[in-house]
Each structure stands twice: as structure tokens, then as C-alpha cells.
Symmetry: D2
């Protein structure tokens, strides 16, 4: 099978190339970059030295691939998707362009959509909720990193619509700096981040409507308040969902264990930490019930570039192609 990574020079593109280079079913990989056209991918991803030594190409219509990963900025993917689909190329889009089925919502947080008619065709690529649909999809919208962590942590509470205070869920999430992309900025300077913690878009982050839009299908009327922070690690998100809930008599930990019992990539553990998932496709979840306070805290941890981006994208490709879901994304995290 042949795959293309459109926009391979960023961190997500690099992780896609790393995973695809080891994928036993992917025979040929091509990748594109405007900035690095004609240069080897090892120029931007020196970790691939001796392993994936293809060159960045210019994007051309009529790509020789069965499936395309679009690792492009929000607002750009939508210019590539219609042509690819017309040519029978399946698409996994890493941007937000097809995540929100509601055109108005998308335009409120992003830009004007140039092919809103495709919104209904796209499947939100979180296998734990949409596995069946993904298998049949031509166009998968890969979830945002924060959204993946937040949705997986709150979703099982759909069983208790009466007990949960749905409009007062707080998600306080912390991300490593790789989540902000490869472009150098003052904010992301080592000297600025090391020894620091930096809240940003404290209210109004774009993943908030995404979380609410997707969760709302399962928990009607849910309103999650989302606050992100930058912390001095490279990879990983730790997300705390604070859920006010009449949890008397409930064993929520057992419920979560059961809920995710069949999921290979979701592990319900005693305490979710970043290290136990970093560099892997796992999402670890821990459930902390506070009987006195009538609050439940659900902590979730993922690697923002793997379960939060490239790993999940390949997981989606595996499903779309009818392969074992974990092919080439079953690497283990490390200790220490």
C-alpha cells in the first residue's frame, strides 16, 4: 500500500514518517513540503537517518497513494481534501477543518469553510467512539490532542446523566511544548519554558468547542470549561477533568475499567502520569472519587504527538484499510 504525508516537515509529519517507516503494510511513502522541497527528510528529522531517507517533494495533483495524511495548518487542509477524495484517495486530516460537523461553529473559531458540504461526510477519528464509522470512512478528521485526552476521560460519565452537573465540568490540561509546533517563537524558547509554567488561552481555546461538540452527542447539554497550560516537558498531556457529581454509592473506577475493558489503547490505572504513556499510543486514565466533596476527578494522560496526533492517525488508517488497529503503533512507553 502507498501512503503520502502532505506537510511532512513538522513534528506531526515527522512522527507519521517514523511510524509509517516501520509499518509492515506500507510499501511506499512519499511526503511533501514547500519549504524543504528537494531536501531529505532527515534534514528536519535527523532521527530517521539511515531508516527513512526519502526526499521532500512538491505536492502535485493526482498523488500516487491510496491514503493521504494531511499534516497541514488549520484552514489549508480543506483545499486538498476535495481533489484527493475525487481521485479515490482516502484522507486522514490532522487539522481541525473537518472536526466540527457544524459549519457555523467552525467558522466562529477558525475561518470561512470552503467546502462545508464535506463536513457531513467526515468521521471524527476517535476509534474508541467511532470505530465502526472509521472503518467505512473516506475522510477522517483526526481529533485535537487536548480533545482526545479530555473526551476519553469524560465520555464514560454518560452513564450517569442525572448525577453529573453537566454545565460545570472543568478540564484543566497541561501540555508539553511539542504540542505547539516546530516553528520557533519566543514563547517556545527553551530559556522561556524551562523552570516555568505558562497558562495560555485560559478561556476560549479552540479545543473547547471541539470537546463540547463531540461529547454533546453522548451527554446532552454538556458544557466543559477548558484551560490549557504549557509545561516544561517535550511530549505529553496531562488532563484533569473535575466533574461535580453525586457519586454516592457509585464505584466509578470499576465503571471505567469495564467501559474501556476492550480497548487496547486505553488503560485505567491507579494514577495516570505522562511518563507511563509518553512515546506510545496509550491513553492512561485514573479515576479519583471524593465522597465528601461530591466531586470526581478523572485524570488522563497521552502523548500529544502519538495518541494525540500521528499514532491515532495511523490507528485510523489501520481501521480504514481493514488491518489490525495496532499495527506499527504498539510501541511501549519507557521507564524511566
Amino acid at each position: 500500500m502507498k501512503a503520502i504525508v502532505v506537510g511532512g516537515s513538522g513534528y506531526t509529519g515527522g512522527e507519521l514518517l517514523r511510524i509509517l517507516a516501520r509499518h509492515p503494510r506500507v510499501e511506499k511513502i512519499t511526503t511533501t513540503s514547500r519549504t524543504y522541497e528537494g531536501e531529505p527528510v532527515t534534514k528536519t528529522h535527523p532521527n530517521l537517518e539511515g531508516v527513512c531517507e526519502i526526499m521532500y517533494e512538491k505536492y502535485r495533483e493526482g498523488v500516487d497513494a491510496e491514503l493521504a495524511f494531511l499534516a497541514l495548518p488549520h484552514g489549508q487542509s480543506m483545499d486538498y481534501v476535495p481533489g484527493l477524495l475525487e481521485n479515490g484517495v482516502k484522507v486522514v486530516d490532522m487539522s481541525a477543518d473537518y472536526r466540527l460537523a457544524d459549519e457555523n461553529l467552525y467558522e466562529k473559531y477558525y475561518v470561512k469553510h470552503r467546502n462545508p458540504e464535506l463536513l457531513g461526510k467526515a468521521v471524527y477519528g476517535l476509534p474508541e467512539i467511532n470505530r465502526g464509522k472509521i472503518k467505512k470512512a473516506e475522510l477522517v478528521a483526526n481529533p485535537g490532542c487536548y480533545s482526545s485526552a479530555a473526551i476519553l476521560s469524560i465520555l464514560p460519565m454518560k452513564k450517569y446523566p442525572g448525577q453529573v452537573d453537566k454545565t460545570k465540568i472543568v478540564v484543566d490540561a497541561k501540555s508539553g511544548t511539542s504540542g505547539a509546533g516546530a516553528k520557533p517563537t519566543h514563547l517556545l524558547q527553551h530559556a522561556n519554558v524551562e523552570g516555568n509554567m505558562i497558562p495560555y488561552k485560559v478561556t476560549g481555546h479552540r479545543h473547547e468547542p471541539e470537546i463540547n461538540h463531540i461529547l454533546g452527542e453522548y451527554i446532552h447539554g454538556v458544557r466543559v470549561s477548558f484551560t490549557p497550560q504549557l509545561v516544561p516537558i517535550v511530549r505529553g498531556i496531562l488532563s484533569c477533568a473535575h466533574i461535580f457529581c453525586d457519586a454516592q454509592g457509585l464505584d466509578l473506577k470499576a465503571h471505567y475499567r469495564k467501559y474501556y475493558g476492550g480497548e487496547k489503547f486505553v488503560r485505567v490505572v491507579e494514577t495516570a502520569t505522562v511518563k507511563d504513556v509518553a512515546y506510545s499510543n496509550y491513553c492512561n486514565i485514573s479515576v479519583h472519587q471524593d465522597p465528601n466533596e461530591t466531586r470526581v476527578v478523572v485524570v488522563s494522560a497521552i502523548d500529544n504527538l502519538i495518541k494525540g496526533a500521528a499514532g491515532q492517525a495511523v490507528q485510523n488508517m489501520n481501521l480504514m484499510m481493514g488491518w489490525d488497529e495496532s499495527t506499527s503503533v504498539d510501541d511501549l512507553p519507557y521507564n524511566p
Copy 2:
């Protein structure tokens, strides 16, 4: 003036020695340690080489000091306080032993109190709320690090008792590893913390009752839910108070600026970060109003060992002695 630091070998003790060594009104410092008796303080605090070269002594009744800092574990301070007070020595206690005026509450979260009659005599050492009482106090209970950050961030909301949902305030706080003390543990190993984020005591942390006990005097019936996390920095706390609040029409940023207008050590800024306060006695606060979501997020940042411990303790000493409150604790943070 003569001061003693009882228990000088830990991180808080070391910071007290560093600050006192530069204090123009403190003529003599002595310090004690069981483990390091007879050794120079530079053995545990090599930063003081050439500057503070006293030796650790054994604690003896009848200390030659006007004021004692007790940098001891919870449950131990209470054995030193009565004797010191009887001998006319003022006390700033860094432990939790005198923070909670309610004996039962203390015993629920700590151990049996051995001189509960002194609880009523102790003043909670947060100058921004108790400056007048501290000036006259014989016994000051220095606040917990998380508590300092959380209380300062929520307190000004007392102006709006009707608008705030008092029982659903979430404080999600992140601390550097110096907050966990100098004793080596697996949790605090560099290899375990670096690249990691680790939630702990997700519900039921001891600073939760402290926060509620103190804040409750100003916001009747308040119930803060508190969750701490360990992050890979050495110094600093970033605390996010998520407050559901009918904030329509309110300019809360302006309110906070005015409220803390006269406070030297509280700065209301655009975005509070750890770096802008680390190594200083400042508490930076930023206020983020979310009109749509009817939520206010108040972020506060302190250095856990300075405004969260030793700096605030010296600030309290300055007040108790009638000196300028900022003497020797007016060091500036660094960039970068």
C-alpha cells in the same frame, strides 16, 4: 536582633538561613539539626559557602533568640512552641500545627494536638489578610504553599457573594519538586520526574481544609475542591482557580488590581507564570473572564519556598518586629 532556625537542614530551613544572612536587622543566627549537629550549614546548603558558615547545633531549652522559626515536620512543632512562648520568644511556625483554629479539623487531617489551647492564640501568617494581627502576634502560623497561592487568588471574590457558586470552586495546582522536601524518595528521583507530570492526593490533600477554613471567614460556606500535581520544575506553584460566577457586567481584572493596589508582593498581571515570581516573594495573579461560559479563571503563581514558605515567614517576622515588611525579601525574579 537574634534569630534561631529550628530544623535548618531542609529546603525551607536553608532558604530561611539565606534570607536571614542578608537581613540588616538580624545580628546573630543560630540553627539546629538532629542529623547534622556539629556540621557546618554549608554541608547541606553549599550555596551559603563563604556567607553563612555557622554550625548546626543541638536544640536546647532557653534559646538565645528573640524569635524562632520552626522548620519542622507537622506534629513536631507543637512540642517546641509552649516552651518558647513561655521564655518570651516569638515564634513563626512553618508547620501546619497552628494553622487551623479548629482542633477537630486539625486532628482529622494530622495527629492529636498536644496543646490545642494555643490554637486560638496563633495568627495565620498571610500578611495580605492579617497584617494588623501579625504585628501584635507572639505566634504566627505560616501558611501552606498551596494555600497561599489559592487563598490570594480567590479572596477578592468575597465582594461578590451572590454571583459566585461557592461550593463548586476548583483549584487545580501544580508544584515544583522542592515543595516535597529534601528527603530522597522514588517519587522525587530526577529520572522519575523529568518529562513527567504526576498528580498526587488528587482528592483529600491537607491544604484543602486549610484553604476552606481560612477563606470561609471571608466567603461564608465556601467549598474549594483542590487537586495538586507534581511538575518537572524545582521552584514554583501555578494555581488555577476555576470559579463559576455570574460575571456579566463585572470587570474583575480591575477589581483585583484595586484590591491588591496597596500590596507590594501581589502583582496583578496579564498572565501569571512561574518564571516571573520564582526566587522572589511575589505572588503574580491574572484574571481571565469568560463571558460566554460564566466562569472566571484566576491564575496565581508563587515561589513555593519564598512566598510559599521562608520569604513569607521573614515578611511575618518583619511585621512582628515592627520593621519594613519587605526587608531582605525584596529580591527580584529573573529573566530568563
Copy 3:
């Protein structure tokens, strides 16, 4: 094939378990620990949750395994090796007990050797120099982490015995904290290491005689001076070999490229950095010639727990068993 990891609870043991759990030829793994007997390996290695869920056992004579990895402290392995070999179990020893063929040298730097007659039987497990011998070995002494990095960086200079000042080679090496083991100490506390660089055993480190002993077989009379430092990263060694050398007219970079041309795990690159090898079995090497100064600097980078320990051990096992050398140790490093 059945393998046993004796002493599985440390960092090296954990990495062995992680790699073996994915090894297609290893059907059964057992592991031992005195401290954790009867507990699941996930207690010490939570990254293995759901993947390697065996229990720590007590070590018993007559192990049911074809090959044993000894991940034990120096001085302990030698008590296990004779019995294992007698029972026909091949051994890869991670300790220093069989690295030095010279009994006196071993005893000068370590302890009295209790079976020195086996020293001559052991093969030093650096495949790049001993591949043939390792294939036939019953007992492989896995190299020290610093030694692996240093030897690989200097070895190709054996071609120029006349030009190199053999007695004035300086190796200045920096290691992450996982190299110091899993036992909590003050030195390894996060608060002590973060933002710090700490030289230790500045002269006289035990890997110095190991480096000279092994290199001496190829560069007669070599005397490397070795200085290690602890830096605030978890994984990785960066080693700079400063070699005074009459390098006029030589293209040493080309020589190194050719020398390591057939080696899968040694990559000669423009600039060797830790990130380009971390979490992998690669050793990256860069060669920096200084014509004016008649000095060559050869930089090498490895992951101390993989090419410097567990990865190289499995590479050795693969050779000893007649399998493809890279089986299960061909994971790629990450970017970023």
C-alpha cells in the same frame, strides 16, 4: 526460547523486560527480585501495564531458561555465573564482573574476584569489535555505558598509531540520571539535578580502566583520561573524545564513515546529539577535525540504557542465538 532477567526491578532490568516482551523469538520471560518477590513487574515498571504482567520470583538454582541476563550490582553477578554455565545456560552479564580479563585490574577497582578462572572465558560484548566471538560465547560481559560510547569513538583511530598522541586522549562525558540507577539518593533528587551540572569521580572513575583495557588491544599503550558529569536529562550519554593528532592531510570523517559503513547501529553524522539516539540502540558519531590545533574531537552519543546496557545486551543475545542482530532492538529515536 526462554529467557530470565535476574534482578529485574532496576532501570536496566526494566528495559530488558520491555525489549524482551516484544521479541518475536522469546516465548517465555521470567524475572527475579529480592525486594519485589511476589509482586507484578508493573509495580516497578508501570509502562509495562497490560503488556508484560509477570511476577517477580525468587531466584532458584536450575532456572528454566536458555539464556540469563544478570542485571545485578558489581560483585554479585560472579556468584550466579558458574552455576548457570554449568547448567548450560548462556549468560549476558550487565555488571563489570567479567569485563576485565585482568584479575588484578578488576580487584583494584572493584572487589576480590571469586571465580577469576572464568575471566578468560568471557567475551566483551561490544558487537562492533567482537561480533565473531560473541556468536560463539557462553558468557558475555556487557560493556559499561560510558565505555561503549568512548571505545566506539576512539577505536577507528587505531589506523593512525603514529599520528595520535596516545597518552593524552581526554574523554569528557556527560550522562543522564538514569545511568546512576533507580535507588533514591540526595544526588539524584530532581531538585538537586534540575538546572544543574554535577561532575563526579572527576578522576579515577571505574570505566577508565575498562576503556583503556579494551582499547589497549587495538591501540597499544593508549591511556585515556576520563571525566564524567551528571546532567539534567534522563536518558543518554554525550561523550567528547579530544585526541591530539597530527591530522594534516587526513579525512577522518571519511575514514570513520568507511570504518562503520557496515554497522547498522553506528551512524556517522554531522553532529552527534543525544536526542538523535535516545530510546534507540544507535550510537551516533561525529568527527570534528581542527587543522590548526592538531586536535580531533570525536563526539559520540548513545542511550545509556539501550546501546549502553539493555539494547546491547539483547543485541548480544541475538548474536549468541544465531538470530538477526537487530531483532527487537531496532526501535527508532524520536523527533522531538
Copy 4:
């Protein structure tokens, strides 16, 4: 006294402002920046909020100051110095423009010099070697950060010209990222530096001729080989000078202690580490003699922005003005 910081928006400029803001003899500070003209200094140095709230100005001839700090890139300072000196303004130049008395050497490593006649007038601003000259100087060339650490570590060996192999001294130095300046680059991205060690300019770094030029006045014919590396800390340099030396019978540690006995800012300690000097003007030095190897390793540690830049600059100003040398630069380092 009035001082001006020309080029105040970088890291060195910011540290100068921080130190000067607390200097009891400096009554007025002005600062310039092309990029930030008209903006408050707190825009680039938020740590100064509430403490130093001046605005960046445009540079104008005829500055109202007795002393000017030039925190400008190499090659730019030389355009400001002649005019300032003509107007009777003393100058401390942070760039390399006046560090090398030899015009040809400067031009080999930098650019064409536009007022080489001033080279002879400049004093190299390392108080430990030039205190007397600095007191009388109009123009002080503030040393490079690496140079300060290296020179102070090797200088006392001038006592043993016969024993030291002067042409084979290796200085292997590691710096935090603040040393590379405030401008965002890919190299300095947090995600690129964290968990990494990166050698750069492995041979031929510009501080090598500076070290040799200055040291050469004291150790005739010295040739130091210098290699720098970037490590994931913000502040600090650790420099290892590997000196081949017939040290039999010498007590070099005692010699260093005596040599620096009168120096307030040089501390000879058991083991020099970054943490024990960071955020201070101290240089810690440790001496490690290896009798067998006939090598001495001298480790030195400084804060690159303080003793390596702004702190030393103010130390020089204090000398030039006839004040106590340590005024406003006597802050202590921290533990932890």
C-alpha cells in the same frame, strides 16, 4: 550617578537593568532598543514589573550618563564607543569588539575593526587579573562567558610553567541556553533542547582565541583547545579544564585556595557545580588531581549571565567608579 544600558532588550540587557535597579549608587537608568523603542522594559523583562518601569528610548548622541553599558552584538559596539569616550562617558562593552588587543586576531574571528586605535586603550574586564587597570579605565571590554570560566580555572597554573604541557590543555565546556541569546531559533526551541545535549562549534569557537590571547600574557605559549556544548539548563556554565601536568608532589587544591584567597567572587570548593553559583556573581572552582595519570582537571562554574556577563560588568563599573566591588552583585545562589 546616571547609567545607560544601550541595547536593553536582550537577556544581558535585562540582567543589567535588574542589577542596576537595586544599585544604591545608581540614581537614574536609561535604556535603548531599536525594536522596542517607546515600550516599557517590562514588555521584554516581565520580572521587573513594579520595580523598573522605564521605557525603551532611541539612542541619541550626547547621552545623559556617566557610564554606558553596551549590550550590543559583536561589530556594533565599535560604532558607539568613540563618541561616548569623547563625551567623557565611561564604557563597559559587553561585546567582543575590544577584547583582543590584536587587530588581526579580531578581524580573523569577527569583522573589520573600525577603530583599532582604541584596542590598546581597552582593559579586559576580569577583575581577578586586571583590578588595578580597571579602576583607571575609561573603556572596559567585558569578557566572554566561556572565557571567564576558562581563564579563572587555568590562570593559577602559571606558577608551574615547567610542569604543564601548555599546548595540550583541553577545555570542554557546557552552557545553558540563555547564553545563546533571546532570539528564537530552531536550535533553541524547548522541544529541541530538552532531554538533549548538543555540541556546536566543536572546534574554532570564537572564545578560543580570546582565552589564549588573555592567558598567553601569563602562560607564555599556552594553547587551549576549546569545545562548547549546549545543555538543557537555562543559566550556567560548567567548564572542565583538562591539564596534562607533572603534578607529583604538588598540592594544587591548596595552591588554588591560596591564589584566590582574597577574591570575594571566586570560591575554591570540593566540587564545582552549576547550582551553587547560578543567579549569583560567584565562580566556583574545584581542583581534581590524578597522580597516576599526571593530569589535573580544574572544574569551574559560573552563571553565564552574571559572572559571565552583567554581574561582572557591574563589578567593573563599581571598580571604575571607586565603589565597593560587590555593590548590588552580592546576591546568593539558591538551594535547591
